[in-house]
Symmetry: C2
Subunit: 188 residues, 2 copies
DNA sequence: TGTCACATGTAAGACGTTACATGATTTT
DNA sequence: AAAATCATGTAACGTCTTACATGTGACA
C-alpha cells in the first residue's frame, strides 16, 4: 500500500512511530492522513518484511522509543514506487454526492445552502494552508519559492496545490450558489 | 456509510444492482466510485435493515433482475444525511505524497517529470468532463445551465466542480513544472 | 460456435477507523 | 495532585478491492 512507501520516504532519517504520526499531522494533513494505530501496525509489518530495522532507545522524557531506520531494500522499494509513475485516482467526495441528491429535500434552496456551508469549510482550510506557506518561508528564511530547493521545494509545491485547488473550489461554490439561487427566484 | 445513502438517493425510482453500477460508471465516476460487489452487498444489507425492499423481475434479455425500491424509512434516512451538513474531508492524494518524497530519486528533475505526467492525466479527465457537460446540454436541449433545474442542475454543478478543479490543477502542474525546472537550471 | 451484454452473487484479503489499555515524565 | 505530553501497542469493527463463480439471451 501507499502508506508503506510514505513511511519509507519519511524515514530518510531514523524516527519513531510517534515522530511519524506528528509529521503526518503537521505537514502532510492536507494530502494524507494516517491513524496512529495504523502507523504502528505498518511499521511492524515493514520490519517483518526487512524493509525497516528497529531498535529501542531510551527517551529523555517518557517511555523508551522504538526507532526505525530503513534498509537498502526499503529504499529500493520506495524508489521504484516513485519512479513507477504518478498514482492519480479520483477520490470520493461525499459533499458532491450530497449535492447531486439534494433534490430529495423539500426546501427550495437546500443545495445553495449546502454549497454555502461547503464554502465556509474550504475557506478555513485555505487559511490554514496559507499560514503553512508563510511559516515555510519564515522557517527557511526566504521570501519566495525560487529560493527553495529539494524537500522544502517539494513541500511548497504540495501546499501550493492545496491553495490553487481550494481557491478554485471556493469560486465553484460562489458560482453554484448564484446559479442555484437564480433558479429559486425564477420559480418563485 | 455514505454509499448507503447514495444508493438510497439513486433509488428515487426502482432499479437493480446492475442499473446502479451503470449509473456509478457513467455519471458519478468523477466524484464517487463503487465496486459491483460492494453495491450488491450494500443493497442486501439495506434490505435487511428495512430501508429497501426488492422483488425479482424477469428481464427482457438475460437472467431475472432483482429490483429494489426504497421504503419510507430509507427516504427518511437519506433526507437526514442530506440535511445533516456537508461531509467535507481531505482525501488522500498519492501523487502528492510521491511528489513530496521525490528528492529520494537521483534524477535531477524527477519531480518535474512527475508533474508533467500528472498534467497529462488531468487533461484527459478534463476532456471527459467537458464532453459530459456538452452531452448534458444536448440531452436536455438547452444552451446554458440557467435553463436547467432539479436533478439535472445539480448534476451540472458536480460536473462544473470537476472542470474548475481540474483546470486549477493543470495550472498548478504548469507552475510546478516551471518552478522545478528553474531549480534544475540554477543548479546546472 | 463464440463472444458480447446482461445479471447476480461469494470469499478473501487489504486497508482504515475507533476504542481501549498502559505507563513514564514534565508542567501547572 | 492533576493534566499535558511522550510513547507504544491491541482488538474490533467497518469499508473497499480483487478475484472468482455462475448463468441467460442476442447476435455475428
Amino acid at each position: 500500500m501507499a502508506l508503506d512507501k510514505i513511511l519509507l520516504g519519511l524515514l530518510h532519517e531514523p524516527k519513531s512511530g510517534y515522530d511519524l504520526k506528528a509529521e503526518f499531522d503537521e505537514g502532510m494533513a492536507h494530502f494524507w492522513s494516517a491513524d496512529q494505530s495504523q502507523i504502528y501496525a505498518t511499521l511492524k509489518r515493514l520490519e517483518d518484511g526487512r524493509l525497516l530495522t528497529s531498535e529501542s532507545r531510551p527517551s529523555s522524557r517518557g517511555p523508551a522509543r522504538r526507532v526505525y531506520r530503513r534498509t537498502a531494500a526499503g529504499r529500493r522499494l520506495l524508489q521504484e514506487w516513485l519512479a513507477g509513475g504518478p498514482q492519480v485516482k479520483e477520490s470520493r467526495m461525499p459533499y458532491l454526492a450530497q449535492l447531486a441528491l439534494m433534490s430529495e429535500l423539500p426546501e427550495a434552496d437546500a443545495a445553495g445552502h449546502h454549497a454555502a456551508r461547503v464554502r465556509a469549510d474550504f475557506e478555513q482550510r485555505l487559511a490554514l494552508l496559507q499560514a503553512m506557506q508563510q511559516r515555510l518561508f519564515v522557517d527557511e528564511g526566504v521570501t519566495g519559492p525560487e529560493e527553495l530547493s529539494g524537500r522544502t521545494l517539494h513541500e511548497y509545491c504540495t501546499i501550493r496545490h492545496g491553495v490553487l485547488r481550494l481557491t478554485a473550489l471556493i469560486q465553484w461554490c460562489d458560482e453554484s450558489i448564484q446559479l442555484l439561487a437564480r433558479k429559486k427566484r425564477a420559480r418563485a
